[in-house]
């Protein structure tokens, strides 16, 4: 299982790439409301980028349930390789 910090680190890079912004600092409580570009469309881009980075395949309920960064990290800690 990956540690919180490792996931956080790699996830930060994914966020920066997807939203094309090197200043993004992610936190566990951060939601789509905190990042104007994070809409239902870029959510899917984000999910695909996460799937590539962490070599996982996320299920429908997981994709829909990822409401904040914390839930991303928790899921990836359990599932990622």
């Amino acid at each position: 299982m990956l540690s919180h910090d490792v996931v956080w680190d790699r996830l930060t890079n994914v966020f920066r790439q997807v939203f094309d912004n090197d200043n993004i600092e992610i936190t566990d409580t951060m939601t789509a409301a905190d990042l104007p570009e994070w809409d239902s469309l870029s959510h899917i881009t984000l999910v695909l980028a996460v799937e590539r980075e962490f070599h996982v395949k996320l299920k429908a309920a997981e994709v829909g349930g990822l409401v904040n960064v914390g839930s991303f990290i928790k899921l990836l800690m359990a599932r990622a390789a």
Binding site: S40, L41, H43, I44, T45, L48, K59, A60, A61
Partner: protein, 556 residues
């Protein structure tokens, strides 16, 4: 069919709250309660068979999905469930198939479909384990959710029934009481008034449409469409307030289905505020997977927004078609799909043209908000014509004359709603459209709490007086009131509206912020407040029972 104003509903809810609390929501007790509630909607045992058959099929599908966990099987199971649903609901597409030759009940089946599909998909994905039979039955038939949602997710329901019930606190009673008063006010008063206006307007609209009188058709169409929207909202959202309130008292937190939809910034935002649990379901199981599949094949940065347009269009087309079994609902779906697609394309186009920061700044401007909200609500109120129009009249609307009326009405209504919205916001301050409920009612960032309180109170007083003035207008001339009597009733109605505001908890947050009553004396405050509320409710009931109803009744 029971109604939620019937004595049965009151007695049932009280019994249910009491029994669930007494037994800590024992599964068998809950099952028995659900059975009694569902049975009250079904005239004979035989009439329940198709519904039971559908639920049994659903359960088998869930177990099969978990056993095989293969996409091919999943597709077969989902298709089978949807087919069975469409056949039982007599969808026009399947009208060539013979139907069961007896009368049967399909109440609640549209929502049961979503609960079952959610379990089938998640069990096939291995994200959920199939529930045991009794837990499954309690989930699909859970009485507060049964008639018209909300569509709760199973893991949420399961977490609540397997944990000890939260204790009844004064805060729970306080909030549930506000919800119940608001819910009944919406359903009994507001939605009846809107439905009265609608009944009168839409028959005149049909007449104007058949004699091809342009201006009259547009005017009456506008009144019918908006009054139906208000009726639909107050009726549906009111019922949601009631069931969520009952759920709270019984110890359950049901998901919210509405979040001030009339404060929507645009059509996309509207769907995050209107029938939320339905939109979320479609987002989980149709929009996301579809977009993901398209994006993993063709998803470059430039193409993504257009894939989004396709995804939204398909999702809203299907969502519209679910609403009813006839061909007009396909048109409804297409119309919603076109609306959402235009909204998404507009955002892409504006972002490309103006650059993201400038577009973002533009969207923050009050005038932009008002125009955008006007177009959103104008478009939606015309879209839901599909929910009420008679087939014969719908054919008339699909003529060159009808379509001109249709398009003109959207433009006129959007403009009127934008103007009306601007006036309301100008009169009461922009914070008002963010207020009026017990939840999400944040005080303004600047300005005093008292001004905020005044603005909300003003809203209630003016609406009370306005409704009464409208009632006067409609009161038949053979029952004239003297000016003094009218004035008295106007003041009385304004005061009653103010008290209703207090009852539903509209002033709670500003008072809380102004006095910090949620400090150490919270319990005492809430108890006093509750006693006061019951006193107000008794007072209003007495007034309504003597003076108001006769007067309102005569008007509406």
């Amino acid at each position: 069919m029971v109604s939620f104003t019937s004595p049965f509903f009151f007695v049932f809810c009280l019994t249910a709250i009491f029994l669930l609390r007494m037994t800590s929501a024992n599964a068998l007790v809950m099952g028995a309660l659900n059975l009694v509630f569902v049975a009250s909607f079904i005239p004979a045992p035989l009439a329940a068979l198709p519904l039971l058959g559908f639920v049994c099929f659903g359960y088998c599908a869930i177990r099969a999905a978990r056993r095989f966990q293969v996409n091919a099987v999943l597709i077969l199971l989902v298709a089978g469930t949807v087919f069975l649903f469409a056949w039982l609901k007599r969808y026009a597409i399947l009208s060539f198939l013979p139907a069961p030759n007896f009368a049967y009940a399909t109440i609640g089946i549209s929502y049961i479909l979503f609960r079952i599909l959610h379990l089938v998909i998640d069990c096939s994905d291995g994200v959920l384990e199939p529930p045991p039979p009794l837990a499954f039955l309690n989930y699909v038939f859970f009485f507060p959710n049964f008639v018209s949602g909300p569509i709760q997710r199973y893991e949420d329901f399961h977490a609540q029934v397997s944990a000890p019930l939260p204790p009844v606190t004064w805060l729970t009673i306080h909030e549930a009481f506000g919800r119940l008063v608001k819910g009944y006010f919406f359903v009994v008063v507001a939605s009846s008034a809107a439905s009265w206006i609608f009944d009168h307007a839409h028959s005149s609209f049909y007449a104007a449409l058949s004699r091809q009188d342009g201006p009259a058709t547009i005017a009456l169409f506008s009144v019918s469409a908006t009054s139906y929207l208000v009726f639909l909202f107050t009726n549906f959202a009111g019922y949601m307030q009631i069931v969520i309130g009952v759920g709270q008292l019984a110890g359950f937190t049901l998901p919210e289905n509405f979040n001030r939809p009339f404060a929507s910034k645009n059509f996309l935002d509207f769907w995050a505020r209107w029938h939320i649990t339905l939109s979320n379901w479609f987002k989980f199981y149709l929009y996301n997977p579809l977009l993901k599949a398209m994006a993993s094949r063709w998803g470059t940065r430039a193409v993504m927004p257009y894939l989004g347009v396709i995804g939204l269009f398909v999702t809203f087309l299907v969502m519209g078609m679910w609403h009813g079994s006839t061909v007009i609902y396909v048109a409804y779906g297409v119309f919603l799909g076109v609306g959402i697609a235009i909204n998404q394309l507009w955002q892409v186009w504006m972002t490309n043209r103006l650059s993201a920061p400038i577009y973002h700044e533009l969207r923050e401007r009050p005038w932009y908000f008002q125009v955008s909200r006007g177009v959103t609500l104008g478009y939606f109120s015309v879209a839901i014509t599909a929910l009420w129009i008679e087939p014969e009249q719908a054919n008339r609307l699909f003529s060159p004359f009808g379509l001109t009326v249709f398009a003109t009405t959207i433009v006129i209504l959007s403009a009127l709603i934008a103007i009306f919205g601007t006036l309301v916001d100008a009169a009461f301050g922009r914070m008002v459209y963010d207020g009026g409920g017990t939840k999400d009612l944040d005080p303004p960032a600047s300005g005093s709490h008292m001004r905020y309180l005044g603005a909300i109170a003003g809203c209630y007083v003016v609406s009370g007086a306005g409704l009464t003035a409208l009632a006067f207008y409609f009161t038949p001339a053979e029952h004239p009131y003297s000016t003094a009597h009218k004035l008295f009733l106007l003041v009385l109605a304004a005061f009653t509206a103010f008290l209703i505001g207090a009852l539903v908890g509209a002033f709670d947050k500003p008072i809380a912020h102004a006095t910090s009553y949620f400090g150490n004396r919270r319990e005492v405050f809430l108890q006093t407040w509750m006693a006061f509320r019951i006193f107000i409710l008794a007072g209003i009931s007495t007034i309504m029972a003597s003076a108001i109803p006769e007067f309102i009744y005569r008007a509406f």
